[in-house]
C-alpha cells in the first residue's frame, strides 16, 4: 500500500547546531559572558542575524532556553551571550567550561529594524541584563558609524559591581562619536566617577534631542520601562520610534509551542522587538 514511509525532506527546525564555548568569564556576580563558535566552520562564518534576535541554547541533559545574541553581525564568526543564572538550563550552562559543547539554533525573532534606523539618531537606554540585546545594536551602529546620526547610550545598574560590560563601556566612553552616560542607583565603592541615580536621572544631561529624527531602543527590567518611556514621551519621540524588546517564556522559538503567545501574536516570531505603539495597542504586552 502507498501508506508506507514517505520521506519528508523538511529540515528539522528543532535540531540544534553543535557549538563550542570559546571563552567564558563572569560579568557580574550572577551573569557570565559566553563566546561560542559553531563547530561547523562554514555554518559559523555564514551565520547571519540581526541585532535584537535571539538563539535557543541547549545543554545536554538540562534543556534549552532563549538568549539574546549580544554580539554584532558586523563581526562574524563568534556569537556572544550574557547569561544570568536563574534555573536549570542557566545553572547547567554556568557549570560548563571553555571548550565544552552546547547546542545553538536560530537566529529567531524579528530583531531591530536596522535598515529603517539608518540616518536616524539612535538613543539606547539599557538597564541590567537589557544590555544583552542592546549591546548588539550598539556595536552594530559603532561598526557602521557613518550610517547613523548621533549614537547615545544610557546605561544603568544598581551598583557598579552589577554593571554588565562596565569595562567595555568605560572604554567606549572615550569615543567622541558616542555620547555615553553611565549611572548606578547606589555607589557602594566610593570609586564611581559617573552619575549616581536611576537611569531617568540621565535624561536632563542629554544634549537637545530632535525627536522625529530619533529612534529610542529600550531594554531592562520591567520597572524600568514605565519610567523610561515617560521620559521618551516627554522628549516627544513618536511612539512608533520607541522600540523595546520583551521577555516571554519560550520553549521552541519557532512559533509552535505556544508559550510566548500574546493576544494574536507569537513573541518568538513577531517579537521580541516591539514599538511602544504595539505595546499600548496590544493588550498584555507589558
Amino acid at each position: 500500500m502507498k501508506v508506507v514511509n514517505k520521506t519528508n525532506q523538511t529540515k528539522n527546525p528543532f535540531l540544534p547546531e553543535p557549538a563550542r564555548i570559546v571563552r567564558m568569564y563572569p560579568l557580574t556576580e550572577d551573569v557570565k559572558f559566553f563566546q561560542v563558535r559553531l563547530v561547523d566552520i562554514e555554518k559559523s562564518l555564514s551565520f547571519q542575524y540581526r541585532p535584537g534576535q535571539f538563539a535557543m541554547i541547549s545543554v545536554l541533559g538540562a534543556g534549552e532556553a532563549p538568549f539574546s545574541i549580544s554580539s554584532t553581525p558586523s563581526r562574524p564568526g563568534l556569537l556572544e551571550f550574557c547569561i544570568r543564572q536563574t534555573g536549570t538550563v542557566t545553572r547547567a550552562i554556568f557549570n560548563l567550561k571553555e571548550n565544552d559543547l552546547i547546542g545553538v539554533r536560530g537566529p529567531y525573532g524579528n530583531g531591530f529594524p536596522i535598515e529603517k534606523m539608518e540616518g536616524k539618531d539612535i538613543l539606547i537606554v539599557m538597564g541590567g541584563l537589557g544590555a544583552a540585546p542592546l549591546r548588539s545594536v550598539l556595536l552594530y551602529c559603532l561598526d557602521n558609524r557613518d550610517l547613523f546620526g548621533r549614537v547615545i547610550l544610557l546605561h544603568g545598574a544598581k551598583r557598579p559591581a552589577e554593571m554588565i560590560f562596565l569595562q567595555e563601556f568605560l572604554d567606549l566612553k572615550k569615543r567622541s562619536d558616542l555620547e555615553c552616560y553611565l549611572t548606578v542607583d547606589q555607589d557602594d565603592t566610593g570609586q564611581w566617577v559617573d552619575n549616581v541615580g536611576v537611569v531617568t536621572t540621565l535624561f536632563p544631561q542629554l544634549k537637545e534631542i530632535n525627536p522625529n529624527q530619533t529612534v529610542a531602543l529600550v531594554c531592562g527590567p520591567p520597572v524600568m520601562y514605565k519610567f523610561v518611556i515617560q521620559e521618551l514621551l516627554k522628549l516627544n519621540i513618536p511612539k512608533d520610534q520607541i522600540l523595546m524588546t520583551l521577555e516571554r517564556r519560550m520553549k521552541c522559538g519557532v512559533g509552535k509551542c505556544g508559550h510566548c503567545a500574546i493576544d494574536y501574536i507569537y513573541t518568538c516570531l513577531d517579537g521580541p522587538v516591539f514599538t511602544y505603539w504595539d505595546v499600548i495597542h496590544m493588550r498584555e504586552l507589558i
Partner: protein
C-alpha cells in the same frame, strides 16, 4: 470530485485490504460508553455510531508525549518513531477541519517535521455524523468538508457514498475495485440530499461567531472574566480535548544507563498555572482569568482576525469536558451580555460563596 458507492457489508473487507501494511485506527466504544480512536486489531470493535471521541485525532500525529531526539555528545538523532504508516478511519467533518487548521499551523513559518511526517504517512478516511445537543459545527461552517481527507464515507441506509479526496484515496479503491460500484443512481442522489437537509435541521446549538472578535475586544476588561476565572479549576482539560490546541512543553530526560538524553515533547495547556512563568519569578498570567482570556482570544478572536474563521470547529468537546461548564458556548453567551443564563447565575453564586 469522484464519488463511488460501497455496500456496508463491503466495508470491513475494504479496510482489511487498505490496512495490510499499516496500522488501522478507528473509533471504539470504551467501557464508560465514551469513544476513542484506537488501534484496531479486530474489525468488530470499530463503532461508527459515535458523536465525538474523548481526544481529537491530533493525538495520532503529535502524541501526548513523544521523543524528538536522542541527544548525546556524538550528536542529535532525530526520533520519528511515532511516525508509522496509518489508516485513520471514521473521522467526522469537524475533526477533519481541526486537522486542516493543524496542517496550516504546522506548515507556517517553520515547518514542523514531527507533525508533517506523521500526517503524510497517514491515510485519513472521513465519516458522516449526526449532531447531538452539544454540536454546533454548523455555526463554524465545519459541518461539511471538501478537503483534508483521502476518502470520505457518507452513510446512507445500507451503503456509503464514498468521496475520493486525493490521489492516494483513489489508489486505495484500486486495491479492491470489485467492492465498489461506479454508478450512482438518481435515487441515491435524492436520498443523500434528503439526509443532508434533515441533518441541517438537526442542529440544536448555534453560536454567533461573527461578533466575537469585537466582543472579545469590547469586553476585555469586563467582570465576567473574574467570575469565570474564579470558577475555573485550571485543570487544562479544555486544551487537551480541543482539536485546535497546539501548545506543548519540552523536557530533557537523561536515560539511565545510557550516554544519551531523550528530549520529550508533551502536550501543555495555557490554562495551567506556570504556562507563562519566566525566570525571576515573573508570571505574565498568574490569574486564571488572564489565562482564560488567552484561551478564548485564540479561539474567538485571533484566528478569526487572521484567517476569517474561528479556531473552533464546533466539536463540542469543551462543552462535555469542562467540570465547571466554562466552554465556548457559555463564554460566547457571557460575551454577548447574557447574564440571566442559569449557568451564569450558578457560577456567580458559587463564586460569591
Amino acid at each position: 470530485m469522484k464519488i463511488v458507492k460501497l455496500k456496508k457489508e463491503n466495508l470491513h473487507p475494504f479496510l482489511q485490504a487498505v490496512s495490510q501494511d499499516a496500522e488501522l485506527w478507528a473509533p471504539v466504544r470504551l467501557s464508560n460508553n465514551k469513544h476513542s480512536f484506537q488501534l484496531i486489531d479486530d474489525f468488530s470493535k470499530i463503532d461508527l455510531d459515535y458523536t465525538r471521541t474523548i481526544l481529537p485525532p491530533r493525538k495520532l500525529f503529535l502524541p501526548p508525549e513523544f521523543n524528538m531526539f536522542q541527544a548525546s555528545f556524538q550528536g542529535y538523532q532525530e526520533d520519528y518513531s511515532h511516525v508509522t504508516p496509518k489508516v485513520l478511519f471514521g473521522v467526522h467533518p469537524c475533526d477533519l477541519h481541526g486537522l486542516l487548521i493543524f496542517d496550516q499551523f504546522h506548515r507556517q513559518a517553520f515547518e514542523d517535521p514531527y507533525y508533517l511526517k506523521a500526517r503524510e504517512n497517514t491515510l485519513v478516511f472521513g465519516h458522516s455524523c449526526w449532531p447531538d445537543e452539544y454540536c454546533f459545527c454548523q455555526s463554524t461552517h465545519t459541518h461539511i468538508i471538501e478537503e483534508g481527507y483521502d476518502l470520505f464515507f457518507s452513510e446512507l441506509d445500507d451503503y456509503y457514498l464514498v468521496w475520493i479526496g486525493s490521489s492516494e484515496g483513489d489508489d486505495c479503491l484500486r486495491l479492491t475495485p470489485e467492492l465498489f460500484e461506479e454508478s450512482i443512481s438518481e435515487e441515491d442522489i435524492k436520498s443523500y440530499i434528503a439526509w443532508q437537509e434533515k441533518r441541517n435541521r438537526a442542529f440544536q446549538l448555534h453560536i454567533n461567531f461573527v461578533s466575537m472578535p469585537d466582543l472579545m475586544e469590547l469586553r476585555y476588561h469586563h467582570p465576567l472574566w473574574e467570575v469565570l476565572g474564579q470558577a475555573c479549576l485550571s485543570c487544562g482539560s479544555c486544551s487537551m480535548v480541543c482539536p485546535t490546541c497546539n501548545c506543548y512543553n519540552v523536557n530533557d530526560h537523561p536515560v539511565l544507563g545510557k550516554n544519551y538524553s531523550e528530549i520529550h515533547r508533551c502536550w501543555d495547556s495555557c490554562m495551567l498555572e506556570n504556562y507563562s512563568a519566566v525566570a525571576g519569578g515573573e508570571n505574565f498570567r498568574e490569574k486564571r482569568s488572564q489565562r482564560l482570556k488567552l484561551w478564548y482570544t485564540h479561539k474567538l478572536q485571533a484566528y478569526i482576525s487572521k484567517y476569517g474563521k474561528p479556531a473552533c470547529v464546533g466539536c463540542g468537546r469543551c462543552l462535555v469536558t469542562c467540570p465547571v461548564d466554562i466552554n465556548i458556548y457559555t463564554v460566547s453567551r457571557a460575551l454577548e451580555g447574557e447574564q440571566v443564563d442559569a449557568f451564569w447565575n450558578r457560577l456567580a453564586n458559587e463564586v460569591k460563596q
